[in-house]
């Protein structure tokens, strides 16, 4: 006799947002820690060296936070006016910062007073960075100039006066000690070479440039300004590769994930978007409470730090994954128990009888196999896909009425609840409508005995009424769309008709 055939569960396409590797990765952070700063947080920078402290520039102070401390472990407050762009050197031991009064100050991480003060800019210095050789500092200021400073004898080496508006962002190449780029409010991003006295490359962003970023390889340049993020190929002489427009307000900061595979952009529209650097599509998006001014990722993406206009610093730490392994693992049989006897070679006269493979049946299948149909149905009411498949199966067997009949108040309301939840889903509707009708037929005689069930029926009625209204609206809309489509077809059609009408009269004439 044939064995029991398990119910085929129909699979439906999953609705809603698709869960990708990226959403899993970027959602795997703890709830953010919020730290209140004195003013808008204009820059966050992680130290490239362990223990990966980060410097936060807000108002006239620079705070340095440790990985888990919510209190600053160090503060530089020797600024007369607003400080800007505190940046660590590659070895994490020096820190340079610009200031509203035009000064550039260099600090030792362990000290308090500035080691060097570079005076020369006449207006606020919004961007500073160390060059790759660690001994020079590049600064850009609101006096339209870009200056290169020597750290050992604290002197100005070069001044570039090519920008025609505020210089607000910049970064130095990680590979070449002589190359650095700056972005300005004159809509251009320029690349300078310290060996020459002028820019070697200039690209037109089209908006005031708020942030620039060089890929670690130095080949690609990302600029942000206005609502656009643009990627340029430096090796091809500044060719525009991609232009991204995913924010609805000005993009203020850019950041690369530590693997270099993802690009992050923060904007005044309170969002951080994550792009894949292969496809340049948005793969994830974070929401924050206020407009974002600065953004930084720690080593190995362990921490996301975001600074906002309202002075709040939001710090998100990655969830630790050590917990899963701590669970006691059930001991399973050794591998050899499974392969025991499998490699037995049949002798000439032996007849091998295979033991029929034991089929694993789901609980509801087991119930169905033994004709406990009501129980099978009750068991699966929480997962609509399986329920619908089972109802279908019962209907095929012709026992759906039996399965639904003979229920007390609690059980029937359970079934009705399921119907109310799922009746409006188009993929389940045909089956469930059928089931609902059967239920009504069965329980019509006893209606009015239980207020709970009556209430459920009322709810169901309300839902059906709404769905009918909705479908009526849809039908009207379908009519509209038919009309639209028809006009399109007629356009094609009429042109054909015209041709024929041109031809027809003549024919008619000939015929007549």
């Amino acid at each position: 006799m044939a064995g029991y055939k398990p119910v085929a569960i129909q699979t439906y396409p999953i609705l809603g947002e698709k869960i990708t590797q990226d959403t899993l990765y970027w959602n795997n952070y703890k709830t953010p820690v919020q730290i209140k700063e004195f003013g808008a947080v204009s820059k966050v920078d992680f130290s490239p060296q362990p223990p990966y402290n980060y410097a936060v520039t807000a108002s006239s102070r620079i705070h340095i936070y440790g990985r888990y401390s919510q209190e600053p472990i160090k503060t530089f407050s020797r600024f007369k006016d607003t400080a800007y762009c505190a940046t660590f050197r590659q070895d994490g031991r020096l820190l340079v910062a610009g200031s509203e009064d035009g000064g550039v100050q260099l600090f030792d991480i362990s000290g308090r007073a500035p080691l060097r003060q570079f005076e020369g800019h006449t207006k606020a210095v919004h961007t500073v960075d160390f060059t790759a050789d660690k001994y020079h500092v590049v600064s850009g200021a609101d006096d339209y100039t870009v200056k290169l400073w020597d750290i050992p004898n604290s002197k100005e080496i070069l001044t570039f006066k090519e920008h025609s508006d505020y210089v607000r962002c910049g970064c130095a190449s990680k590979l070449n000690p002589d190359l650095f780029i700056t972005g300005s409010y004159d809509h251009t991003v320029k690349m300078f070479d310290a060996r020459t006295s002028e820019s070697v490359l200039s690209v037109e962003h089209g908006q005031p440039v708020e942030s620039v970023l060089l890929f670690p390889s130095g080949g690609l340049l990302v600029s942000a300004g206005g609502r656009y993020v643009k990627v340029w190929d430096m090796l091809k002489g500044g060719q525009l590769l991609v232009s991204l427009k995913n924010h609805h307000k000005t993009v203020t900061c850019l950041c690369l994930s530590s693997s270099g595979q993802r690009l992050l952009s923060g904007s005044l529209d309170r969002k951080v978007k994550v792009y894949s650097t292969t496809s340049y599509k948005v793969v994830h998006s974070f929401d924050y409470a206020a407009s974002i001014l600065s953004l930084a990722l720690a080593h190995e993406d362990e921490t996301i730090v975001v600074g906002m206009t309202n002075g709040i610093l939001s710090v998100k730490h990655r969830k630790s994954e050590a917990k899963k392994e701590s669970l006691p693992r059930r001991r399973r049989p050794a591998y050899r128990t499974f392969i025991k006897g499998k490699n037995y070679m049949k002798q000439r006269d032996d007849i091998l009888i295979n033991r029929p493979a034991k089929k694993h049946l789901e609980l509801y299948d087991r119930d169905l196999k033994h004709f406990r149909i009501s129980k099978a149905l009750d068991r699966v009411l929480d997962t609509p896909e399986i329920t619908v498949s089972i109802i279908k199966e019962l209907n095929r067997r012709g026992v759906l009425a039996n399965a639904l009949a003979g229920r007390d108040e609690k059980e029937i309301s359970h079934v009705l609840n399921f119907l109310i939840r799922n009746l409006s889903q188009p993929r389940f509707a045909p089956v469930l409508i059928n089931a609902a009708e059967i239920i009504i037929d069965i329980y019509l005689p006893v209606i009015g005995q239980s207020p709970v069930v009556d209430k459920k029926f009322l709810l169901l009625q309300g839902l059906v009424e709404k769905e009918i209204d909705y479908q009526r609206e849809l039908l009207e809309t379908l009519g509209m769309m038919d009309m639209l489509f028809a006009t399109m077809r007629r356009k094609e059609g009429t042109s054909v008709l015209e041709h024929t009408s041109d031809g027809f009269p003549e024919n008619k004439k000939i015929e007549s």
């Binding site: 006799m1 609705l15 427009k245 995913n246 924010h247 609805h248 529209d269 998006s285 034991k358 087991r366 196999k369 033994h370 004709f371 406990r372 009501s374 039996n402 009949a405 003979g406 229920r407 007390d408 108040e409 409006s424 188009p426 509707a429 045909p430 409508i433 059928n434 609902a436 009708e437 009504i440 019509l444 005689p445 006893v446 209606i447 009015g448 005995q449 009556d454 029926f457 009322l458 009625q461 839902l463 059906v464 709404k466 769905e467 009918i468 209204d469 909705y470 479908q471 009526r472 609206e473 849809l474 039908l475 009207e476 809309t477 379908l478 509209m480 769309m481 639209l484 489509f485 399109m488």
Partner: protein
């Protein structure tokens, strides 16, 4: 008496507004309020006499003021006593008012002419003027400033007569001795200068905080045995910012004693001080001190040498509003200034707000230690603007000025000039073109909010929000817009959507159409609007069918169940009406429920029918059961785990048993069932 001028100009206290009574009969009260207006009030009938706005009233607010002594006649050298007798006749001559400003200039204002008399600027102060004192006889003016200098001015020529450094820090207060030959100045310490030589005659320790007032309290030394040289033996008084003690000092012949001889204690920092000079030994000094907390403390004391304990006031005066009804508690009204009348037996009190003070004459009754006057000033609180007096010009607005409102480019035409909005911010931003008075705004707020103001506001922002939401795929933003129920609003929004957002909008709607009918109905509204409004645009799209294909299919598949659903709905309606009907009958057990005619027939057939049906169902079930059992028997052999199989078997038996019973009874009764179980 007239010396209260400098008394109230304390540099650290914003509450203390410079004010002074005119000398002698106190006919006028001058007050320079913080908005830069100088107002002169008539004390007799509490009327505004004059109002003057200095041209630079905002940049250089008035920091101190002083009335000139009655007559500026250099030839006359009258004794103070003599002037007093003449006071009645000369009161009209009180004319000049000196105003010191925060930028260092001194203005002389003539109350007779009602305009500026002259300005003292050249060679004077380059910082805030802290105190001004007129010399009684010589027509000179003394002023001190934050720039550490004291300047002696000639008022006739408006030139500096002499300027010298008065202290190492800012000089905060001045006072001229009764005989006019000495000058007291208070900086870090209190110094007594000889005016002729400008040399320091005595030092006093002073206060820890800047001294706000200096005043001589006696004009003759109490000890009359010694020959009087004009200064020795005189007492003077000093009050300071944030200090609740008024110190009294004595000018002694020997230069050793530098500390205060006695002190008066008050409840708060003194704001305004007035006193009556004692002219002989027996007459006590009467002192009225107005504190920042709005109380007046009165002291009466015969100055006679050293006193260790601080003296407390003889009488305290407070003013409060009458408590209206039972619930409202009386509120205190601050007293701003107080001055003794010339008879020394009554007091002029200035109270209320700085902009509309009330001036009242109160007879002194020193018996009671505490006086609380109940005054209703609610009718005085309303700021009255008397246009006849004020000379403030409002800037003329150009009627052609255009007001720019945020919106989407390309949709300017749709935006009307905004009516007054409910939100303050909105109205600020939009209605700048033609000034709307507060009254009109208030009126508009009552009416327009309900009619159209709100709607216009929303349709301005909705297209913007929707475009932004579509561009950045912001779920919340889209929700905010798409979940409106107002059809009119939807139509307006769709009308203003830029064309390039139509297709993304349709795609978003497609996504949202799949949900629960509750929310999806709203999306259909949007979809309909888009289709009707932008039909012509959509029909021009070459790839319309692939664009809208998924949407079409989705809708079609959903609509497929329409017939079945309607069928089900019909059934449900019947069911529900039954329920409601039965409930009604349950509720109304009317007596006429009994059938009037009962027609009975043999019911055996029906019963048998029922039985048959029951049997049928049972039979069916039995078959099933048999099948299952037979199957089971076979299965059991196959099953490995016997125990489990048994368990299931037992469980199943129970189930089948109960089910059998249940299925057997066509009218299942929950109560019976529970009993059985």
């Amino acid at each position: 008496m007239a010396a209260g001028g400098g008394g109230s100009c304390d540099p650290l206290a914003p509450a203390g507004v410079p004010c002074a009574f005119s000398p002698h009969s106190q006919a006028y009260f001058a007050l320079a309020s913080t908005d830069g207006h100088l107002r002169v009030w008539e004390t007799a009938n509490n009327r505004l006499h004059q109002e003057y706005v200095p041209s630079a009233h905002l940049s250089g607010t008035c920091t101190c003021l002083a009335w000139a002594p009655a007559r500026l006649q250099a030839k006359e050298s009258p004794q103070r006593k003599k002037r007093k007798s003449e006071a009645v006749g000369m009161s009209n001559q009180t004319d000049l008012l000196a105003l010191g400003t925060a930028v260092g200039s001194i203005l002389l204002y003539s109350t007779v002419k009602g305009e500026l008399h002259s300005k003292l600027i050249s060679g004077g102060h380059d910082n805030r003027v802290n105190c001004i004192q007129w010399h009684q006889d010589s027509g000179c003016l003394y002023s001190c400033s934050d720039d550490k200098h004291i300047v002696e001015w000639n008022v006739q020529t408006c030139k500096v007569k002499c300027k010298w450094k008065g202290d190492n820090s800012s000089v905060s207060s001045l006072c001229i001795s009764p005989d006019g030959k000495m000058l007291l100045s208070a900086g870090r310490t209190i110094k007594l200068w000889v005016l002729e030589t400008k040399e320091v005659y005595r030092h006093f320790t002073g206060h820890a905080t800047p001294v706000s007032s200096l005043m001589f309290t006696t004009i003759r030394p109490p000890n009359e045995s010694q020959p009087f040289d004009g200064i020795t033996g005189l007492y003077f008084l000093s009050g300071a910012v944030h200090d609740r003690l008024l110190n009294v000092w004595q000018v002694r012949s020997e230069n050793k004693e530098k500390s205060a001889v006695m002190s008066f204690t008050v409840t708060d920092e003194p704001v305004y001080i007035d006193l009556t000079l004692s002219e002989n030994k027996e007459e006590p000094v009467k002192l009225a001190v107005v504190c920042r907390d709005g109380q007046v403390h009165l002291f009466e004391h015969i100055l006679n040498g050293y006193c260790k304990k601080p003296l407390t006031s003889n009488c305290t005066i407070q003013i409060a509003t009458p408590g209206k009804g039972k619930k409202s508690t009386p509120k205190p009204i601050p007293i701003l200034a107080a001055g003794f009348c010339s008879d020394k037996m009554s007091l002029l009190l200035v109270y209320g707000s700085w902009f509309q003070p009330t001036i009242e004459r109160v007879a002194l009754n020193s018996r009671e230690p505490h006086m609380c006057l109940v005054r209703d000033i609610s009718n005085c609180w309303a700021p009255k603007v008397e246009t006849a007096i004020t000379k403030v010009r409002t800037p003329v607005m150009n009627s052609e000025a255009k007001v720019l409102v945020p919106g989407i480019p390309g949709h300017h035409a749709a935006i009307k000039p905004a009516p007054p909005q409910t939100e303050q911010v909105e109205s600020k931003r939009k209605s700048g073109g033609n000034e709307v008075s507060i009254e009109e705004r208030l009126g508009a707020m009552d009416i327009d909010t309900h009619k159209k103001g709100k709607e216009d506001l929303q349709t301005n922002s909705f297209p913007v929000l929707l475009t932004q939401g579509l561009e950045s795929n912001d779920f919340e933003m889209l929700n905010k817009v798409l979940q409106t129920r107002n059809v009119n609003l939807i139509k307006k929004t769709v009308l203003r959507m830029p064309l390039h957002t139509i297709i993304p909008l349709l795609q978003e709607l497609t996504k949202r159409l799949q949900g629960h009918p509750n929310s999806a109905v709203l999306m259909v509204q949007w979809l309909k609007c888009v289709l009707t409004v932008h039909a012509s645009y959509l029909s021009t799209l070459p790839d319309l069918v692939p664009q809208l294909g998924t949407l079409y299919q989705l809708m079609e598949s959903r609509v497929k169940t329409f017939q079945k659903l309607s069928h089900l709905h019909g059934k449900l309606i019947l069911l529900i009406t039954q329920v409601t009907a039965s409930e009604k009958t349950k509720g109304a057990t009317s007596p006429g429920q009994k059938a009037k005619l009962v027609y009975e027939e043999e019911s055996s057939e029906e019963e048998s029918d029922d039985e048959i049906a029951d049997k049928d169902s049972e039979d069916n079930w039995d078959e099933d059961e048999e099948e299952s059992e037979s199957e089971k028997d076979e299965d059991v052999e196959e099953e490995d785990e016997d125990a489990e199989g048994k368990d299931e078997e037992n469980g199943e038996d129970r189930d089948t048993a109960s089910e059998k019973e249940l299925n057997g009874d066509s009218d299942l009764d929950p109560e019976n069932e529970s009993e059985e179980e």
